[in-house]
């Protein structure tokens, strides 16, 4: 996950216009906005509602139903720890507790340095090689607490890309 970018109503409208012809376009639109901005800004709701001929309540209802959509900017990286049974069987609960303690945050929270947002996930489909976590779009298997810390160090020491 890269830095949350600035968004403009024009950018939101462009994402909507590219997809609104599709049947059942709302989820694809929300994905496109979140992929571009990093989250679905509150200000996007009325633009989406207007464009799709829905009420703001309907759009808000969909955003809030799905765990994947977030309404505030995440940290620079998103780390998801699997909470499901196959990972529990190989120490997933210990890893969860370690991740929270080590980062000093609970699920749905972001570290003070804005580097890492911690989320729970229920299954990454890597169930023969748990415990598993997902860092942005990459899944890691057999993650011990030590491996978790090493990974987090690595994420924090990656140089920031300076655009401009």
């Amino acid at each position: 996950m890269s830095d949350s970018r600035e968004w403009t109503p024009q950018a939101i409208q462009a994402e909507i216009d590219a997809l609104k012809h599709k049947p059942g376009a709302l989820l694809p639109i929300l994905h496109a906005i979140q992929d571009r901005v990093g989250f679905v800004p509150e200000g996007a709701v009325s633009i989406i509602a207007e464009s799709l001929g829905q009420t703001r309540a309907e759009v808000h209802g969909v955003i809030s139903f799905y765990h994947h959509f977030r309404t505030s900017p995440p940290g620079r990286h998103l780390v998801q720890v699997c909470r499901a049974e196959a990972c529990q069987a190989v120490g997933g609960r210990t890893l969860e507790a370690h991740a929270k303690a080590s980062l000093g945050v609970d699920y749905h929270q972001t570290t003070a340095d804005r580097e890492i947002t911690l989320e729970a996930v229920y299954c990454l489909g890597n169930c023969a090689c748990g415990p598993s976590i997902r860092v942005d779009d990459a899944v890691r298997g057999r993650v011990t607490p030590d491996a978790f810390d090493a990974l987090v160090d690595e994420l924090r020491t990656q140089p920031l890309e300076v655009i401009g």
């Binding site: 059942g24 890597n126 748990g130």
Partner: protein, 518 residues
């Protein structure tokens, strides 16, 4: 001549460092002046050997695993490119590895063998023969073939696929849909992911055949957002299949059309329930619908819709290519064909095992799995996902088929087998089942929405020793209410793991949780 070396690129192999292994191989070969052609294949499904590197030799493919980047120089020193077996990671000829050799791979015949995106590879390995056969037949003939195969829905409900297709074929409509349920949310399951990442064309082919069978021209794959790699591979495969005339307005010059699109879910487990999935595809909250009407009559956008699991659709090309008899020859009783079992959790040798129905859990967990990864005794196994029962040792010798498991209150589900050693606290597992339901309930019906919250609370009281016997009785009643009164399987089946834990592991409910014990 350049030697072909295969390094898998599925999620599991990548999660264990396959990209770094591939990089190291390339660099090491360059610096030694060796010529090799690196192929990024799918996984063979032998998860415990990943990353599993294979080398093509005149005598067939030879395997090495699990390989780390640091192993690469020694592997090359020890004759990896000649397929020699000097190195300790040498596994010999891939197809002779007992874990693989003992399987009956029909649906998964190609995984790990081919480059997942190569249409030439797919065709060279029997690909698109089912579609070609279907294009020469009338819709009713195709439906009859699927009926005769005995194929039942592999998502968990085990409804006969051919009967569902018949209903959609018979429903008059100007537009019909094929929807693939790829919202593989059950913990312990990864077979859908392996199909999509390692052999995407078999799913595309199966969906196109379904379209021909019921006169549907549009298909959607509803894919969970937790599978970003599958999304990327499917999108790429669909574009290539369109370019090659296997999707689009004119399938192989037949004049028949079938279009396909991947739609991403958004992290809601309930969207694996077919009516919730359809709501989500329509752009709404994933609230479960009342049935009837069946989706086969009024499904996506109110039109007749086939909703099938990835594995059901991926079984279809074999059935059309080889005939219903070839498929139905496998299996037992009313469970025909093969089942994709996924060995997971605390297991020494986890992975995908495709076998005819009728094998036992003990064979799977001991002969294939080699027992637990921790080396401690096995204590419980959850088969079929988070909504299915935990089974104690007394049930490990039952033959795996839909009817036998149903008789003991268990389920085969999507074929996930999650093993736990003797350190598991079954009261904690029961609590998690309720907590998961609380987290993932769509909220439409009260027994599921409120029952799961109360379930967590009452299990907490039992574990705290607060009025334990009365609360155990209350938990039993709550489970009955949820089972009888919920609208769908989420609330209706959440009691199964809880009740099985209570029944088979009652001692775990009689003591304080770990950490609270003094």
């Amino acid at each position: 001549m350049s030697v072909r070396v295969f390094v898998p690129r599925d999620t599991t192999a990548l999660s264990l460092g396959a990209d770094a292994v591939a990089d190291r191989l390339r660099r090491e070969a360059d610096s030694r002046g060796l010529e090799l052609t690196l192929v990024r294949n799918g996984s063979r499904g032998l998860a415990w050997l990943e990353p599993l590197v294979e080398v093509e030799t005149p005598a067939g493919r030879v395997a090495y695993g699990p390989v780390t980047p640091a192993d690469v120089p020694a592997l090359l020193d020890d004759g990896l490119l000649e397929g020699r077996d000097a190195h300790p990671l040498a596994q010999g000829p891939t197809e002779a590895i007992p874990y693989l050799e003992r399987q009956q791979r029909l649906t998964f015949a190609r995984i790990g063998v081919t480059d997942p995106l190569s249409i030439d590879d797919y065709r060279a390995h029997e690909g698109f023969r089912g579609l070609e056969a279907a294009l020469a037949r009338a819709p009713q003939d195709i439906v009859e073939e699927v009926k005769a195969s005995g194929l039942r829905g592999r998502g968990g409900a085990a409804f006969p696929t051919g009967i569902k297709w018949q209903t959609v074929l018979d429903a008059p409509a100007d537009q019909k849909y094929i929807v693939c349920n790829a919202d593989e949310g059950d913990s312990g399951t990864f077979a859908d992911r392996l199909v999509m990442e390692c052999d995407p064309y078999v799913l595309i082919e199966g969906m196109a055949i379904a379209g021909l069978a019921v006169n549907a021209t549009q298909g959607y794959i509803y894919l969970r957002s937790e599978y970003p790699l599958a999304k990327q591979i499917l999108d790429d495969a669909i574009a290539r299949a369109e370019a090659a005339g296997y999707l689009g307005d004119d399938l192989q010059g037949s004049g028949r059309a079938f279009h396909l699109e991947v739609r991403l879910g958004a992290g809601a487990y309930i969207c694996g329930e077919e009516t919730s999935l359809l709501e989500s595809l329509e752009g709404k909250r994933g609230l479960v619908r009342f049935k009837p009407p069946l989706p086969a009559i009024e499904g996506l956008f109110g039109r007749p819709t086939v909703v099938n699991n990835v594995l059901s659709l991926a079984a279809v090309p074999f059935i059309l290519a080889e005939g219903a008899g070839a498929y139905a020859d496998h299996g037992m009783g009313r469970s025909r064909g093969t089942l994709a079992l996924q060995l997971a959790g605390n297991v020494k040798r986890g992975g995908l095992i495709e076998l005819a129905f009728g094998t036992t859990l003990r064979t799977l967990m001991e002969d294939f799995g080699g027992g637990t990864a921790s080396g401690r005794p096995l204590r419980a196994v959850q088969v079929g996902g988070p909504l299915c029962a935990y089974l104690p040792e007394s049930q490990w010798d039952l033959p795996l088929d839909y009817e036998t498991f149903a008789e003991v209150g268990a389920g085969v589900g999507h074929g996930g087998v999650v093993m736990f050693d003797d350190s598991v606290d079954m009261a904690e597992q029961a609590r998690f089942s309720m907590e998961f339901c609380k987290e993932e309930s769509c909220g439409k019906c009260t027994p599921c929405r409120i029952g799961s919250t109360r379930g967590v609370e009452v299990i907490d009281r039992i574990r705290a020793g607060d009025n334990r016997e009365a609360n155990l009785e209350l938990l039993g009643e709550l489970c009955e209410t949820m089972e009888d009164g919920s609208l769908c399987a989420m609330g209706g089946m959440t009691p199964f793991p809880v009740q099985s834990a209570l029944k088979h592991f009652p001692d775990d409910f009689q003591r304080a949780p770990e950490g609270d014990r003094s």
